[in-house]
């Protein structure tokens, strides 16, 4: 017996450890190489962990992600030259999703940023954080300071009962709404907490000094609603929630419109100014539609169709690729994300996939596969 398609995040470099390494091992976490670190892929099992997050609350260690603070005169305008978001329009403690774009409009990374009193706090993907930092340093003027907070751990508490558990430990977090954050004090430790995440559920992301991360993880998992959850369930949860994963569903060959992330270019001012990288191409695609587009697929039968499988046209020619795929525990069926020609992108379209010589039927589905349950504020 042998694996036929291990996740290709596995890298041949010396692995580093994160602040919660021993904490995971002590709790039976099965550690695997991920984004250059040892990370827990599962504890009791991906299926059970996934379902636990959907019904209660799960604690994820995402300390491999890059936490950056940008500050300096003219920051908003300078950052707007690199991402399509309305940076100026983000209010204090407001959080926004955006994309770091290459000159041709290709996606270099996806990210979240929040307005702090003295700058912008940004979270970028772990696998490309050093490339992102290099890109930001190269393209932002010297007046902008970039601080990589590599001593900070990042925890995510996700699920419908996350607010019950966290508000017992850190009162006040219940007043946050989706895509806002705040500074909080936990027994003398400063925490930055935002109401956001990567599962489609309500939940929080918590930035904590690395040396306090284990104590906070202990306090959170002591709450009856909370269990530690590995990266395996994080992947299946985000897939069900239509949240693309950089390096798989997004890369420099894809644009925001190809990736069906039109909401990332929602600012009318930014579109009119058209001064973000690749604006000309992206705005044409926004008007006319991209030639290929990311869609969700419900796969017939029980066998998962995974990253790398080919999308076939009626003649059996390859016209697209599956970029993520697996078994959706909430649905009890295999699902996938794929890039397909625009003519095949309408929900309900039946398409064929070829995985290792075997043809599978799939139907383009409305996404997300599982409804989001964010706690939004009044507009």
């Amino acid at each position: 017996m042998s694996d036929v398609d291990l996740a290709n995040d596995y890298v041949e470099v010396e692995l580093e450890t994160l602040p919660l390494d021993a904490w995971h091992r002590a709790r039976g976490g099965r550690m695997v190489p991920f984004a250059g670190y040892h990370m827990p892929v599962q504890y009791e099992g991906i299926m059970a962990e996934h379902l636990w997050v959907r019904e209660s609350a799960g604690l994820f260690d995402v300390s491999h992600m890059g936490q950056l603070v940008l500050s300096g005169e003219g920051l908003d305008d300078e950052l707007e030259k690199l991402i399509p978001a309305d940076v100026r329009g983000v209010k204090p403690n407001g959080q926004k999703y955006s994309l770091l774009l290459a000159e041709n409009g290709g996606i270099l990374d996806d990210l979240m940023f929040t307005r702090w009193e003295d700058g912008l706090y940004m979270v970028v993907n772990g696998a490309v954080k050093y490339e992102d930092i290099g890109h930001l340093r190269d393209h932002l003027p010297d007046a902008i300071t970039l601080n990589h907070m590599d001593e900070q751990a990042l925890l995510a508490l996700q699920g419908p009962k996350a607010v019950d558990a966290l508000s017992r430990i850190v009162p006040g977090v219940e007043t946050l709404v989706f895509m806002t954050g705040g500074h909080f004090d936990w027994n003398g430790t400063k925490l930055w907490i935002s109401r956001s995440g990567y599962t489609g559920e309500d939940g929080f992301e918590i930035s904590v000094p690395g040396e306090k991360a284990a104590a906070l993880a202990d306090a959170l998992t002591a709450e009856p609603e909370v269990k530690p959850i590995g990266l395996g369930a994080r992947d299946s949860l985000r897939l069900e929630a239509d949240l693309p994963l950089y390096g798989h569903d997004l890369d420099p060959e894809t644009t925001p419109i190809m990736a069906a992330l039109n909401f990332a270019v929602a600012s009318k001012r930014r579109r009119e100014e058209a001064n973000f990288p690749g604006a000309e191409r992206i705005l044409i695609e926004r008007e006319q539609g991209a030639v290929i587009r990311r869609v969700g697929l419900l796969v017939e039968g029980r066998q998962p169709v995974r990253e790398g499988a080919a999308v076939l046209d009626a003649d059996g020619s390859e016209v697209g690729k599956v970029t993520s795929g697996g078994f959706a525990p909430t649905l009890g069926a295999p699902i996938a994300m794929a890039y397909v020609p625009a003519a095949m992108a309408e929900p309900g379209t039946v398409i064929q996939l070829n995985q290792r010589g075997k043809v599978h039927q799939a139907t383009v589905a409305a996404m997300p596969f599982v409804p989001h349950r964010y706690v939004r504020g009044a507009k």
Binding site: M1, D3, V4, D5, A7, V41, A48, G232, Q303, P304
Partner: protein
């Protein structure tokens, strides 16, 4: 008598009939199994051939035939209940039965004690 491969398959031999499965260690490594594809009756397999597919939530794996022979039955129950491999890899979660074409091939396989020692070093 049960024999084991280094790839974590087992074959239980009775006369010239073998029943093939994956070991409890293997199912534990795979995690939640969501799909199993077993070979059809009449298929001939050579020792080491990819004979079945097992998929967990996170990965797909090939199952190799520990011996050569002709498949006489695939475990049809696994189509609807792939999780049976997690629950009972050594028993109800068997993959297929075959008629062995070369009993001498068994000499290359490990017995249970050797397999347990092999797994203990992993």
């Amino acid at each position: 008598m049960r024999y084991f491969t280094e790839d974590h398959e087992w074959v239980d031999v009775d006369g010239d009939i073998g029943t093939v499965g994956i070991t409890d260690y293997a199912q534990g490594q795979l995690g939640d199994i969501v799909f199993v594809d077993v070979p059809e009756e009449g298929k001939t397999v050579a020792k080491g051939d990819e004979a079945a597919v097992v998929e967990s939530v996170k990965a797909a794996s090939d199952v190799y035939s520990p011996v050569s022979g002709t498949v006489i039955e695939g475990n049809a129950a696994l189509a609807d209940e792939p999780g049976m491999v997690n629950e009972d890899a050594d028993g109800e979660g068997w993959f297929f039965k075959l008629t062995l074409s070369d009993l001498d091939e068994l000499e290359d396989l490990m017995d249970e004690a050797k397999y347990e020692a092999f797994v203990a070093k992993l």
